[in-house]
Symmetry: C2
Subunit: 221 residues, 2 copies
């Protein structure tokens, strides 16, 4: 309640990340954020440029949480580790991918681009050419952000997400088995969840496929 310590940019970002965690992107307003800090909304503008600056700031923070892969690992293990690290960090803070997807935030800082650089390095090391690396990067990033997207959208479910009647996927209830026979059949398996492990399995398939592209000449046959 009482704002004993003086306001700083870091404290604003701390509070913003916390508020976004409880109230979501839609609930993160300058006025509510200020109230959290025991201050009027306009005081925030002494420490951040505007709301976009806040969103960029928390995106930078969350990306900096991503563990860097052990450089001693082989390229495919490294790529896997980076992708899983991104997935987990962004899963903890869904505001960040949401803000970027709606163009409310951009990734411009060094820390936010580090995983991209590491991943790029891994694919160059695999022997892919420029176009191959670009395709590989885009495929991996697509899988990461797409998997997060599905979970956020309520399509996929995490193991830790309780299956309450209310929280049940908007996609899944009232499926008419006559009109949508296949998805009706899939319903129990979909509800069984495991979004993260499904993500990792898809990632493995993708990286294995990229490895084939990277070394097109087979020793045998």
């Amino acid at each position: 309640m009482a704002p004993r310590q003086p306001l700083t940019r870091d404290r604003v970002l701390d509070a913003a990340l916390a508020l976004a965690g409880t109230d979501g992107l839609a609930g993160l307003s300058m006025r509510k954020l200020a109230k959290t800090l025991g201050v009027e909304a306009m005081a925030l503008y002494n420490h951040v440029a505007n709301k976009t600056d806040i969103l960029n700031g928390i995106a930078d923070r969350v990306f900096s949480e991503i563990d860097r892969a052990d450089p001693g690992l082989r390229w495919d293990q490294r790529a896997r580790a980076i992708a899983v690290g991104m997935y987990r960090a962004l899963r903890r803070h869904p505001v960040v991918p949401m803000a970027i997807a709606t163009s409310q935030a951009n990734l411009t800082t060094l820390r936010a681009l580090q995983p991209l650089d590491d991943l790029t390095g891994a694919f160059y090391e695999a022997g892919l050419d420029d176009d191959g690396v670009r395709q590989a990067i885009l495929a991996v990033y697509s899988l990461v952000f797409g998997s997060l997207w599905l979970t956020t959208a309520g399509f996929a479910r995490d193991a830790d997400q309780a299956i309450t009647p209310e929280h049940v996927d908007p996609y899944l209830h009232r499926l008419d088995p006559d009109k949508l026979p296949h998805s009706s059949r899939l319903l129990p398996a979909l509800a069984a969840g495991g979004a993260e492990s499904d993500f990792m399995r898809g990632l493995d398939v993708l990286i294995a496929g990229l490895a084939v592209l990277a070394t097109p000449r087979r020793p045998s046959a």
Copy 2:
């Protein structure tokens, strides 16, 4: 300007899709939408329940634009066609994935779930079991929405997107080659673009990998 024909739900949705196309999700407000139709904002509530209803309505429309795959095709070709169809329809109307990603819209209608059902059917036909189908569905959906996400976020670029100095990727300018050597090297290839063809190549890799999972016993070796 003059609202000659009476307001209907369909006309509201038409106008909403058009406004979202020009002004984006953030620019789609009830008040501006009403002005487009030559009416006061409150008049809209006679034809739609609320803004969520509008967003669900345009999502339903856009999903119904997706061509259904030829049932005569083999499962992998069918899966590919469905995924490409989804990608293209949603690429034309980026508001829809944005609205779903931010939980402002949900997919509940029959037409919105049809591609999911078709894709599910294709993977069952491939011989995958329930868990395998779920993983395959999630992987393909991830790739589709992730690829769209990357384009929306300005990370990937389409061939038709002009490379203006302003529109240049926020991710790409001012890369410090010393700090981010690999992505700096990749920069020209990234700017060369081709988001859709990259998506399709990633899709091919993924489907090829899923085909291996579907038939784990190899005839040779």
